[in-house]
Symmetry: C2
Subunit: 386 residues, 2 copies
């Protein structure tokens, strides 16, 4: 096991009818900016629940944060924060709204020239403006971590940021909110959380036995609850396990003491930036070719995953590892998620070269757990995913 | 899954050569009380490492906190805190030193008549005196939770306390410290952590799939690393998994959203209070008879545990559950831990009645996940453990 540090101070409030509890979490004298997305919360009742809980608090609303939170729109929110002397942020939404709120938490206290620097210069936020979240779409784990990914349409870029000052003060996870989520987004959440775990697990062994078992626990749970989650009828028990699994998949715990990969995400982000493909689907596009290309480096762990998650007990290490990759692709397909770039766009020619060029331009010369995936190798992997 | 709240703000610093990092964690202007136990840290080098890290900090030493931290001795430490205007506590030790430090953290700010009230009146501490820990003996999880158990020899009592203000600010976990721990204490740590997990898992299903898998992950890891941990030669990799498993077994995570039992601990504490038997060994004494007595209520979960942890795949639910109990006893024995009270004392006559009477006197009329274990039933279970 590698040395590590771990601290996660976010307070989780989990369960049925918990949204009202936000009134106990926001300081009485706070001046709140209530941030949300495209307005679905007005249809499913969450907006009303939040407003009721905010009855005794000063607040301003800012709706319209899009999927893949967009820099220009967030800059409009930043103007509201300044104009209204906002002191506390409340994100009500999925990963996009929460990530956008983290950017605002950092930008509100940033003293440099332009908040875009936070993303391009990897500025870590030690103390952001405090914020809480009400999660409406389980998937990204953003409700219990200190990272965010922000998109800038103008430059077709998607960049990461973070820092210890960007953990939510609290996050409310009421599985009932899942009732009104379209099945397409449920499928995305399942694939997203599944791939989050894989990125922190499918590397090489450092004999971190508990971290491996925890990662496998989340994968096993996601596989088990996927069928009930995709059924028409709402299943509260499955929804609870889904919601908690998504959070645990990316709250920092399972990555401590082990090597991590994240190359699938790096490539996937570019597919979203270039084609607007749903984040989770870009991960499903890249996974198989990434694991096949890096087969030798990952095959021991792939075989362990095959045995423990997919019950593949026959054959050599290579056989098990290969079968495990096939099982993974089949799992994505069982969610109704296509796994080739050509399933999403006809104009994929040149994509691999463009992504490789971007990585070169950014100085990303060695991705993955061995820092060995050069832009040239990335080009090959993306091409295999056409 | 049941509703729950979870917050654990302790910063973990894990790995080789990390003790020196405590100098970055203690505030520069702190006036520290450095607390430790019987002095083994002076033989194994930890004392010197801590002193070196405290080179630029004002501190006072207080050694001699015994196993099962004793109220009268802690009251002496409290006088030092008052006399020296101590502002920060540093526990260097195992669960006993850390638990004692938590009591002091609470007692230092308590404004009632006598600090003993904190234990007898269940006073929860919202803000204690800040403290950090250097863990020298993995077992209790006290380094990453907010609970403590304190003993009072005078009355032969052992009582629990806690509160959100009693999380360590930081805990340093360097697996190298395990090198000098006697095998008897390693065995105790393995049994203690194993039983901690069982208390939070061996109840009835609320379909909390991830919590079940996480609990099983810790059990599987402990079973796997027990043999290398008991070998003469020090195995850093196994020690790392052991240390992290002990912490995760009782840092609050796996108990969230599920029913918990803790009756084994309630009975076990009395055996320590009455006979001075090592805490972990008292748990091993009670476990089998507790599970046999409550077989009908627990058999579904016992069977699941049998399948997933002990690979018992043949037979009925009852068969698997029964075999799982046998496997548990065999595991304790494989650690060199006897599992009957008569293995530890010849004067056990009347023990069951005495414990039942104590529970009655304290008003503990219904222990366990169903709050249905009356003192009469406790008496029967303890008798089965003779």
């Amino acid at each position: 096991m590698n040395n590590f540090e771990f601290k996660n101070p976010t307070k989780i409030i989990f369960g049925k009818d918990t949204i009202e509890k936000l009134k106990d979490e926001i300081p009485a004298n706070a001046n709140v900016l209530f941030l949300y997305g495209g307005g679905s919360i007005k249809e499913n009742g969450i907006y009303d629940q939040v407003k009721a809980a905010l009855a005794n608090v000063d607040f301003t609303e800012f709706g319209g944060i899009p999927a893949n939170p967009e820099y220009e729109i967030l800059m409009d929110a930043l103007k509201v924060i300044e104009a209204k002397n906002i002191t506390y942020l409340l994100a009500v939404g999925g990963g996009s709204v929460i990530d956008g709120t983290k950017f605002l938490s950092a930008a509100a206290v940033y003293e440099g020239d332009t908040p875009w620097d936070i993303l391009t210069k990897n500025i870590r936020t030690e103390n952001g403006m405090p914020f809480g979240t009400v999660l409406t779409l389980p998937a990204t784990g953003s409700e219990m971590n200190s990272g965010a990914v922000i998109t800038r349409k103008e430059t077709r870029e998607k960049l990461a940021m973070g820092g210890p000052g960007l953990f939510p003060k609290f996050s409310i996870l009421d599985p009932e909110v899942i009732k009104s989520i379209p099945k397409r987004q449920i499928a995305n959440g399942l694939a997203d959380a599944f791939t989050h775990v894989l990125e922190q697990y499918m590397t090489y062994s450092v004999d971190a036995k508990l971290q491996d078992r925890f990662a496998e626990s989340i994968l096993l749970t996601l596989v088990e609850i996927a069928p009930p989650m995709l059924k028409e009828e709402f299943d509260y028990k499955a929804a609870s396990s889904f919601m908690w699994s998504c959070t645990m998949a990316l709250n920092g715990l399972i990555q401590k003491g082990v090597p991590t990969d994240w190359a699938i995400h790096a490539m996937g982000h570019e597919l979203t930036a270039l084609y607007g493909i749903d984040h989770a689907r870009t991960l499903a596009i890249i996974t198989e070719s990434h694991y096949k290309y890096n087969f030798e480096a990952k095959k021991e762990k792939l075989a362990q995953y095959g045995e423990r998650v997919w019950n593949i007990n026959e054959g050599s290490i290579d056989d098990k590892a290969y079968a495990a990759i096939e099982k993974t692709t089949a799992f994505f397909k069982s969610l109704g998620i296509d796994t080739k770039l050509s399933d999403y766009t006809n104009e994929y020619d040149g994509t691999a070269e463009e992504i490789a060029k971007r990585f070169t331009d950014r100085g990303w010369l060695g991705l993955g757990e061995h820092q060995s995936l050069s832009p040239k190798k990335v080009e090959k992997i993306v091409k295999m995913a056409y």
